[in-house]
Point group: C2
Chain length 455, copies 2
């Protein structure tokens, strides 16, 4: 019998107190305020590796949520992704205490020159021996643009044009500047590297100019595993060309399936294979030894969660100040210049604030699965099958217990069903995910930037 489809699993996190499920920092057992300390992260990494998670996926945001009530006050009070520290700087400490866990880090393409960012990712790929992934984001907050010296963010589609070119520069550096066999480490002949196998890349484009040798020698994966979260038309086109793992927020299995099929079709149209894109859905899981224990825990969490803080987060995403609406007033909105693309909810029309707050009961907008390990495993299996997806980004609730509960109760149950690994696959993050090579496959756009001899 063929092996069943294996669930891909990332722990979704952020270098911050509040992330997705807002308000839970007030829970007496929650330790998320310890995000500033190293052992918070090294312990987490060890827990995740014990649970055979494929990776920890670190979100990031530049800017603050100041749309709701026209201020950042609630954001400050409830720590709604503020303060928020840099995600990349956590990786080497977590990598040092693990062997197999992957690291998906979010970096906005507007953050820095591609030449320097290319080195940052190569450095992490070296230090983790090929366990690094990059979640490509283009940003959506005006507050971020102002912090970086602009008046407002660029228009949605042009952000993707710019991101396309950013990736082009990166591919030239990651794939083309050093040949696979450039490093000789020949002490006797004093040849560390062969000058004939190293070359400066040149780029003179619409948004970027850069000319120089990639500063890093080739790392195990060269191009990190590429993650993306856009499901808008232009975002999907970008994903079809670049992304290897796409993170979608599906409110139900049917909408996930629709999004998944559209993405895979677009990838095929771009010369790739349907299975070249792994699709992950964000979920919240509350579990325990028994159904009753899980339900009690969920009820307990709800007492500390803050749906209004979730609404403030959602306000920033949609650009709509929900504080201005009455509870039962119908809120009609369609495409905005904000993250309409990032959420299924934003595609809905005619919600009331009361309905939204109900959806945000645990403080965040992801589907919430409550049950014992077996029940959660069944529901995850159903998402994989009916939603035609590949895995999950598991949002945290009370830290670290929500991860520990998952490892204790759900992991054995999905293993029993044959839909989750019982040991890590050898190799780089890309090998683990795709059961193929360390590098992007030849049909990926990045491969076209390889030096001829490496292709």
């Amino acid at each position: 019998m063929a092996q069943k489809k294996q669930i891909l699993l990332n722990a979704f996190n952020m270098n911050s107190v509040g992330h997705i499920n807002h308000g839970l920092w007030t829970h007496p057992r929650d330790q998320s305020h310890r995000y500033k300390t190293l052992d918070y992260w090294t312990s987490l990494a060890q827990t995740l590796e014990r649970g055979l998670f494929d990776g920890v996926f670190l979100a990031d945001i530049i800017g603050v949520y100041d749309v709701y009530q026209g201020s950042a006050d609630l954001t400050v009070r409830e720590s709604i992704q503020l303060p928020i520290n840099d995600p990349l700087l956590l990786v080497s400490a977590m990598a040092a205490v693990t062997k197999n866990l992957g690291f998906g880090v979010t970096v906005n393409v507007n953050s820095e020159a591609p030449y320097l960012f290319a080195r940052r990712m190569s450095t992490l790929d070296h230090l983790t021996d090929g366990r690094i992934g990059w979640n490509i984001v283009t940003g959506y907050l005006d507050s971020a643009a102002r912090a970086l010296g602009e008046d407002a963010q660029a228009e949605h589609d042009s952000r993707y044009d710019r991101a396309d070119e950013y990736l082009e520069v990166l591919y030239k550096l990651w794939e083309g500047s050093w040949d696979d066999d450039a490093i000789l480490l020949d002490k006797a002949n004093r040849m560390f590297a062969d000058p004939n196998k190293v070359r400066p890349m040149e780029h003179d484009g619409r948004y970027y100019r850069s000319n120089g040798y990639h500063l890093s020698e080739p790392s195990r994966q060269r191009t990190p595993v590429l993650y993306q979260a856009g499901t808008s038309g232009r975002g999907r086109q970008f994903a079809a060309r670049h992304a290897e793992c796409v993170f979608i927020t599906g409110s139900d299995k049917s909408s996930a399936r629709t999004a998944a099929r559209a993405l895979r079709q677009e990838a095929v149209d771009a010369g790739r294979r349907a299975e070249d894109i792994k699709i992950l859905v964000g979920v919240t899981v509350v579990t325990g030894a028994t159904t009753g224990e899980a339900k009690d825990k969920h009820a307990e969490y709800l007492r500390y969660a803050n749906p209004e803080a979730g609404l403030a987060h959602f306000s920033a995403g949609t650009g709509i100040d929900f504080s201005k609406y009455d509870l039962d007033e119908e809120i009609v909105y369609g495409t905005s210049n904000a993250i309409q693309s990032q959420t299924q909810l934003a595609k809905q029309r005619g919600w009331t604030k009361r309905q939204l707050l109900g959806e945000l009961a645990i403080g965040g907008r992801y589907p919430t699965i409550v049950g014992n390990g077996s029940q959660v495993a069944d529901e995850l299996a159903s998402w994989i099958e009916e939603g035609e997806i590949d895995g999950f980004n598991l949002a945290r609730t009370v830290v670290p217990e929500s991860y520990e509960d998952f490892v204790e109760h759900v992991v054995p149950a999905v293993q029993d069903r044959g839909i989750y690994k019982t040991t890590y696959q050898e190799g780089s993050l890309r090998q683990k995910i795709f059961r193929d090579g360390d590098k992007v496959p030849d049909r990926h756009h990045a491969a076209s930037y390889r030096a001829a001899r490496d292709r």
Copy 2:
């Protein structure tokens, strides 16, 4: 009896194969090619902490050395700071295996927007609990400017004007955006932070515009310990205002003393105290159990070192292609638009290439001290006294043995003389260095950006 002046000691290193003493990567015992691996760095950090080093000081360079012979060929062959990986990404792994070691990381002010860089350093200050320092550099390579999309580097003095403004933005974020008592972590009253004690900073200057809340809550030191390496007129003025530790390259004690006095005077003129600036000299040490062992080791090292590679490095620094000169031709040069400020050698006139190569016998241009522990200790003590400096940046030769030799032979000898600590001082890096508070003192320029209530 008053305590004798205590030597400050940094291990000088770089996330690369070749650093200062070029060619030694070919030594059979040298492990510098393992710079890509985490355990190379965590082992190093542990060795340094065993030797009570104040810090590891990580240099960095953007761009490649392509002046010598008009190409980067020798740079590639001898790995002259190419490849070169990102230094910041090493810190969390090293911090996780140490308790007291400081981390001085080099970042060019042209690298990224101050808003984002401020967060990077705050993140590291949090993760290390106040053990982070920043070596401020303005860059000197045209190849770096081209890589970042410019035609050539900016003129020397204007680079410092721009750096001054960059620091101003950083101070506003680090010192002014969050009050000391802004974080409440009050779970019962749902007040993570007090909105009245957090404010966006505003900056609209000549080089930078930025408007926003600092993304990080206050870290132990807020402003990292500030290092700098400029000793030109404009660079010294910059140092007098900002730097807390200044790294100078002194070819002899007398020139070090001249530079040290000028720096301290300029600091006093800027309203600071002479002792507010700690001055470090770069040195290479080859030591062993006996004088003979040290001399033998030195002779052995010389067989693997490559003075020509050192010359290629120096060519990039001065902008002069030394390959074009005959061995005994007098090379006259004065101020150039390159790093004239970074080296005493560049202020010399009338050197021959033969003389330069002699100076570069061990592949680098720092004073080289060869002897048993006691002899090295005497020489270091003499540098401190006659040079009127505070400590050293210890360049590496063969890695890791040069650090291990130093810890084994020199550390006990300087401890015996009462000029080196026998245990770490408690506290942050700034406390350890200055025996004062975690934060910059009130007389430092950064302090003027503090919110009134924190001053």
